[in-house]
């Protein structure tokens, strides 16, 4: 199976290098801090898109509930930051100093038990990684072991997103309700709101992103990744070959969940608050479109897709806010109808062959990243 034991071939390495130059050199030099912070915000979504490449592009599992995991990660981080911002000194005017302001407004007089461990940064980081994984494991195991897949899975994840949103909004004493957790200030005494901090956080985030890209590349090029693709295309054959299809699916779903959660945690740091508006159905579906625009099979495409869609959203809504929804809707349709492999597909079909003519680099191993249009996974 391991005929290509590298985790990336030459053209992919080149692509990663180009992305690195773009994110680490070009953007920081050419953008002011405000725009750079916007890029940082977009990039947090690209973690979700990366996860979707693994579970949707490779595994054929479309989750419309990735916002749930983005939100879980974001809330874990926000809880830590909020506790730090709610020191007894900062909250003197409250009737119970030392608890977050929204709890005080809701007549809570002491910190709920599940908030207490979040005084520790270590715990918060572990929670960001573990809680979504466990949640995904429970959901995934229940569904995939019973062979729920395809459309049903998509709709059930959507329902889970709806449930979690209603719960967060309804339990405002514990969660901050619809306002979310706002006014986050410092991380271990370091003010995250200054321009300087935003600048550093950007690089931290890009670093995390590359770690995740490498991890995703590794998964995809490993035997596991190949089984995922095989499973997407002919699930029964994989099962008859003796593999436990459910376990592979659960793994892909959990990996996507953890990636989304990391994105959520970084989002909280970058933007300074977390709210249930990321958990619901609409953001979850929008995150899918980032992946689709980039090319659902392409790990780098996911990053570019996220950046381009969000940049378009920002500039459109600055100049033609009325048209933005039309544009986004048309993008959904165009990507599905005309470019099922997104930007990566355009690159591979139109641009790369021409480049190859000049450079005679080895052909990309495209045998298992075939277009989806003609051999879609059977539902």
């Amino acid at each position: 199976m391991f005929d290509t034991p590298r985790f990336a071939n030459r053209s992919e390495l080149l692509g990663i290098a180009v992305l690195a130059v773009l994110l680490l050199v070009i953007l920081p030099l050419s953008l002011d801090v405000f725009r750079l912070n916007l890029v940082a915000k977009y990039l947090t979504y690209s973690f979700v898109a990366l996860g979707l490449v693994l579970c949707w592009g490779c595994g054929g599992i479309l989750s419309l509930g990735q916002g749930v995991f983005f939100g879980l990660g974001g809330y874990c981080m926000a809880m830590f930051l909020k506790l730090e911002a709610s020191s007894a000194a900062n909250t003197k005017i409250q009737s119970t100093p030392g608890i977050p302001d929204f709890m005080d407004w809701n007549q809570l007089t002491e910190l709920p038990f599940f908030w207490k461990p979040f005084h520790s940064l270590t715990f918060a980081i572990v929670a960001v990684l573990v809680i979504p994984a466990i949640f995904a494991l429970i959901v995934g195991a229940a569904m995939f072991k019973r062979r729920v897949g395809g459309v049903y899975f998509a709709i059930i994840t959507q329902a889970i997103a709806a449930i979690l949103t209603i719960l967060i909004v309804g339990q405002q004493g514990y969660t901050g309700g619809i306002n979310g957790i706002t006014d986050l200030r410092t991380l271990k005494g370091w003010d995250i709101r200054t321009d300087h901090a935003k600048f550093i956080l950007y690089f931290v985030e890009v670093g995390c992103l590359f770690v995740c890209i490498f991890a995703a590349q590794f998964i995809r090029h490993s035997k596991l990744g190949r089984i995922l693709v095989a499973m997407r295309d002919k699930e029964d054959r994989v099962r008859f070959s003796g593999y436990s299809v459910a376990n592979f699916k659960i793994f892909a779903f959990c990996a996507a969940a953890v990636l989304a959660s990391i994105g959520g945690a970084l989002f909280t740091l970058e933007v300074g608050f977390m709210s249930p508006s990321f958990v619901g159905i609409v953001p979850s579906i929008e995150m899918v479109i980032y992946t689709a625009v980039g090319g659902r099979m392409s790990i780098l495409g996911a990053v570019y897709g996220t950046l381009i869609v969000n940049a378009a959203k920002t500039s459109f809504s600055e100049s033609f806010p009325q048209l933005w929804l039309l544009g986004l809707g048309a993008l959904f349709i165009a990507v599905v109808l005309a470019f099922p492999n997104g930007l990566a597909g355009i690159w591979r079909d139109l641009i790369q062959p021409r480049l190859d003519r000049f450079s005679r680099s080895p052909k990309p191993d495209a045998q298992w990243s075939q277009p989806m249009a003609d051999k879609a996974p059977a539902e």
Partner: protein, 308 residues
């Protein structure tokens, strides 16, 4: 909580509560019927279902304005005209969408989901540009307002009865079309084996198109009826979409009986819970129960036994 009330009070409340459950059942069934046709028979996930409903609602609003301005004498009956128009407007849009979008995607159900989501965004923005961002208020004829006074304590809302009757009629019509008419047999033949159906001379493309249009048309009628109980605005359609999908999926796709049974179960559960708990918690518990049951029984309540 019932200690302080007299027996007759309680009896009346339970009667009305039972009726509230039935109204909720009709509402769920009506909004799910169109989707059950499209999803159940064609396997297409139409995320723009809510927007087709809202199209029906806007048509109703336009009709009511037209009648008020030009035919005030006939205003009492405009609702029936509006429903027919809503059916054809949504149906025609559905046909257009099938032709332009859906027919290219039959082999990729997950992609129809994304494409129809895009469609729903576009429709929302169109409604906003055409009808304005604010909600519109649909005037109802006088006879549809208020309630029947059954006894001193029991009152039955007229529009609730109207929705129930309408639901029963449409359900019967859909059942007849799908299970007894010649065209319904063709639809089912196409669902079961597209190639074979084509080979025996059924025009499968045409069947697809009309099935989709029928589903959308029923959604339009539902939207028209919901102007009596809900709001009509560019984004109102999104309020219904999760509930609708859950009803259809919970019932088991491809089964009209399943959809009916699931609408009944969900509505009774929700309306009972709402009575004993607060609205928010009732919703959460109902959704959780549905998701839980679907995990245990992924094929839904009623499912065709098919070999994969």
């Amino acid at each position: 909580m019932f200690g302080d009330y007299s027996l007759s009070d309680l009896g009346a409340i339970f009667a009305m509560q039972g009726f509230a459950g039935l109204i909720l059942f009709s509402v769920f069934l009506l909004m799910a019927l169109g989707l059950a046709i499209i999803f159940g028979q064609m396997g297409v996930i139409n995320m723009a279902h809510g927007e087709f409903m809202i199209l029906g609602a806007y048509v109703t609003w336009l009709t009511s304005n037209f009648f008020q301005a030009h035919l005030p004498a006939l205003f009492g009956g405009y609702f029936f005209v509006a429903m027919v128009l809503a059916f054809f407007a949504s149906g025609a849009l559905g046909m257009l969408v099938e032709w332009g979008l859906i027919r290219h995607l039959y082999k990729r159900p997950l992609d129809t989901l994304l494409a129809t989501w895009g469609l729903s965004l576009i429709l929302q923005q169109c409604y906003r540009s055409i009808f304005g961002a604010r909600e519109v208020g649909v005037d109802l004829p006088q006879w549809m307002l208020g309630s029947f006074q059954v006894t001193d304590a029991i009152q039955i809302p007229i529009n609730g009865v109207f929705v129930m009757v309408l639901t029963i009629l449409i359900t019967c019509a859909v059942a007849y079309i799908l299970y007894w008419s010649r065209w319904g047999r063709q639809v089912r033949a196409v669902v079961q084996n597209r190639v074979m159906a084509g080979a025996v001379g059924i025009n499968t493309e045409k069947v697809d198109r009309y099935t989709f249009a029928l589903g959308c048309g029923v959604a339009g009628v539902a939207g028209s009826a919901f102007t009596m109980i809900g709001s009509t605005g560019p984004t109102s359609g999104q309020l219904y979409i999760v509930d609708t999908f859950l009803v259809v999926v919970f019932g088991g796709a491809a089964s009209l009986l399943g959809t009916i049974a699931s609408a009944f179960t969900i509505s009774q559960a929700q309306s009972t819970l709402e009575f004993f708990l607060s609205g928010s918690m009732a919703k959460v518990i109902t959704l959780l129960a549905i998701v839980g049951i679907l995990m245990l029984r992924p094929q839904g309540l009623f499912a065709l036994k098919v070999r994969k």
